[in-house]
Amino acid sequence: MSTVMQVHAHVTTDPLFIAGVEYRSRLLVGTGKYKDMDETRAATEASGAEIVTVAIRRTNIGQNPNEPSLLEVISPDKYTLLPNTAGCYTAGDAVRTCRLARELLDGHDLVKLEVLGDEKTLFPDIIQTIEATEILVRDGFKVMVYTNDDPIIAKRFEEMGCVAVMPLAAPIGSGLGIRNPHNIMTIVENATVPILVDAGVGTASDAAIAMELGCDGVLMNTAIAGAQDPILMASAMKKAIEAGREAFRAGRIPRKRFASASSPIDGTFFQEDV
């Protein structure tokens, strides 16, 4: 095998498995907050994401029934759709939302469960989330669960049968980046299911840091959709996820307090031989 081919193999044979399905991209994106469907389509394509979140909402009765629908732009034939339970504050509402999503998407059972605690922080209500998880797992759903960065709770969700655990890096839409890298690292080290950072990423370096910590992927929406140029940011995030993942796999050097010369110390021509 040539060197070029070896590098190629190194880079490409690193799939992400969620619920037994193989994905090439470790970037998952939301479809909210875009200015129109064209921007949604272009940014989603530029991100290279294969798993794309959608929200479930009431249809607008009496308004133009011919307005373009999201699923015409983000086709279930092309993407793995991940319906979310955003806006739910109780286990009951989240379960209803997932059941409606499964019916809407012809039996598709991969869902992003989020049960929120309050509007100011959008932090998860863990007690309600646990209750919803129990019902959904029993009901055959494959649950990717939004949670806080608590390693104990993250492990509990894994034990309950979630197919992925998704700790927040910072509050949803805050762009504050990875606020507690040590907890994220502990969650990753304890896990046997994929760990994805969900929420809090602000820019490409945040996504790279999440991946360097060993996360299996990152789910984001606002960081892309809210950027001045969402399509360019989608492309930046794609590269950051890839770069961070490769850096994690490559194994970084240890941090040291003092210098270590990169060039050999021996053989400099201005040294006096004794």
Partner: protein, 66 residues
């Protein structure tokens, strides 16, 4: 009869099937999901499922979200 459709009161002259309801709303061929009194009505049952007075009907679809 009166029903609650997506949170708003609506009046219909007579009971009707889910298919007829969707048709009247211009949503017959749309990708959506239907819940009546918090129970899912599968697409395959739309023709037979009768909407009764007082029913709480939710019609949902997928929109952008994160």
């Amino acid at each position: 009869m009166n029903i609650i459709l997506n949170g708003n009161a609506r009046e219909y002259p007579d009971t009707l099937s889910a298919t007829e309801l969707l048709h009247s709303l211009g949503l017959a061929d749309k990708r959506l999901a239907l819940e009546v009194n918090q129970e899912i009505v599968p697409r395959s049952s739309f023709d037979n499922h009768i909407i009764n007075p007082g029913d709480r009907v939710e019609i949902v679809h997928a929109i952008g979200g994160g």
